[in-house]
């Protein structure tokens, strides 16, 4: 392999996976792949138990993580009894208990019904704002993440083809992005069609709220 990948300034090639996993928490696309303990609480405790912490420290971390991911009510249930959405939240709690500074979520909502998907994304966004955690989401549907994402990196055939603020990339590269099979927000698509007909001129909105505001202003004229 060529090139270099840095996490907090340190090359990943020079670090062990166990060291890196203190910094970077990874939630797999399919939560079943990372849940294995007999109860939710034990599953969440597994990571911190392997860090050599005191009992009290482990207790505190587990309580905090379960609360932050909204899984306290599930603590005595077996992971396999849970719905896909609940499993996804338990996997998130297990990762949070490690107190990572970065969380990677691989298509975190693909198995979830739309309501649960919004809940999970909302919970993750709260963590980001309250704890300063960096969140990296792998996703090809932008309608859900458009409201939260600050930066978007677009990849095609193993390469980065666009990188910047979500609204800048969306506005500048809309046609190219749709050609890459990315599910673009429907409000952005609507706006691009109106723009093509010369009926609007502003930059593309990335979520419903901004489209409502922009259209209301125009229609009130």
């Amino acid at each position: 392999m060529s090139g270099e990948l840095l996490v907090d300034g340190v090359s990943v090639a020079a670090e062990t996976t166990s060291e890196l996993s203190r910094k970077v928490g990874y939630v797999f696309q399919n939560p079943e792949n990372q849940l294995f303990a007999l109860t939710v609480e034990k599953d969440v405790a597994f990571g911190p138990e392997n860090l050599g912490l005191t009992r009290q420290e482990i207790r505190d971390r587990v309580d905090w993580a379960m609360d932050a991911a909204g899984t306290v009510a599930l603590k005595d249930l077996a992971p396999y009894e849970l719905s896909g959405g609940q499993q996804q939240r338990v996997a998130l709690a297990g990762v949070l208990a490690m107190r990572p500074s970065v969380i990677v979520l691989d298509e975190p909502t693909s198995f979830l019904d739309p309501r649960t998907a919004e809940e999970v994304m909302g919970a993750v966004d709260n963590l980001r704002r309250e704890n300063g955690i960096t969140v990296i989401v792998v996703e090809h549907r932008l309608d859900l993440v458009g409201r939260y994402a600050e930066r978007m990196v677009v990849m095609d055939h193993g390469r980065i083809v666009a990188d910047g603020k979500l609204e800048d990339v969306l506005d500048a590269e809309f046609d190219r992005l749709s050609g890459l099979g990315i599910g673009l927000p429907k409000v952005s698509l609507l706006w691009s069609l109106l723009k093509r007909d010369g009926l609007v001129s502003e930059r593309l909105p990335t979520h419903v709220e901004s489209a409502v505001k922009m259209l209301s202003e125009r229609l009130r004229n």
């Binding site: 719905s83 896909g84 959405g85 693909s110 198995f111 979830l112 019904d113 739309p114 309501r115 649960t116 919004e118 090809h140 309608d143 749709s178 099979g181 990315i182 599910g183 673009l184 927000p185 429907k186 409000v187 698509l189 609507l190 069609l193 109106l194 007909d197 009926l199 609007v200 419903v208 489209a211 409502v212 259209l215 209301s216 125009r218 229609l219 004229n221």
Partner: protein
Amino acid sequence: MGENGAGKTTLAKHLNGLLKPSLGKVTVDGDDTTKKSVAQLSRKVGIVFQNPDHLLFSETVKEEVGFALKNFGFEPSVVVKQVERTLEALDLTHYANTSPFLLSGGERKRVALAAVLAWEPDYLILDEPTIGQDYQQKERLRNFILQLNSQGKAVVMVTHDVEFVAECNPKVVLMSKGRILAQGQADEILSDDGLIEKASLVKPQMAKLFSQLGEFGFPSDVVDVHRAKMLLEERLSEVKIRVAQSS
């Protein structure tokens, strides 16, 4: 449509007799499913599971797609022709001699679909067909479903994908906790706040947008981009003319 655990997949499995009702009755073209074998019902009703790995087992894509045809007793020449046609239609021809297990999740889903479509069942049941598919694949799937419809075939789809449904505007049956909550045209159902809430769905973006543009006298049952564009185009051109006249 309906939330996780609503009973959508369970209902789908009743349609080809994989499950038989313990109460009530399921009929396919008037035949009670408890009186027919799965083999008999499958000739008419093809089910594509949510997880393609529950269905795939052959060594090559070509064999996989020909398997059911052989089992149904079609002539070898018909099998070959039908396999070719189906692979072509789903853009899988270049994978004909590849093992299905070497393909990506989205591609395996297409092979599973091909394996069922090959025998041309009258009823096609698709369980969450859009999961893991990118936008172009979804467009292809949408056109494919419309084409099957125009050939007089019924397609039943289990899905959470509100945006996909909004663009197709089919008849929707909404389920919750094992029961049917409501049924009607997609634009009615997906713009109904009460139903959306009960079924743990969210409105498509266009429905969210138009529900907040009510003060301008727009209809509230707009769910797809095409109709949204037509309505706004008309109104925005009027605004443009007014602005031009006043200046």
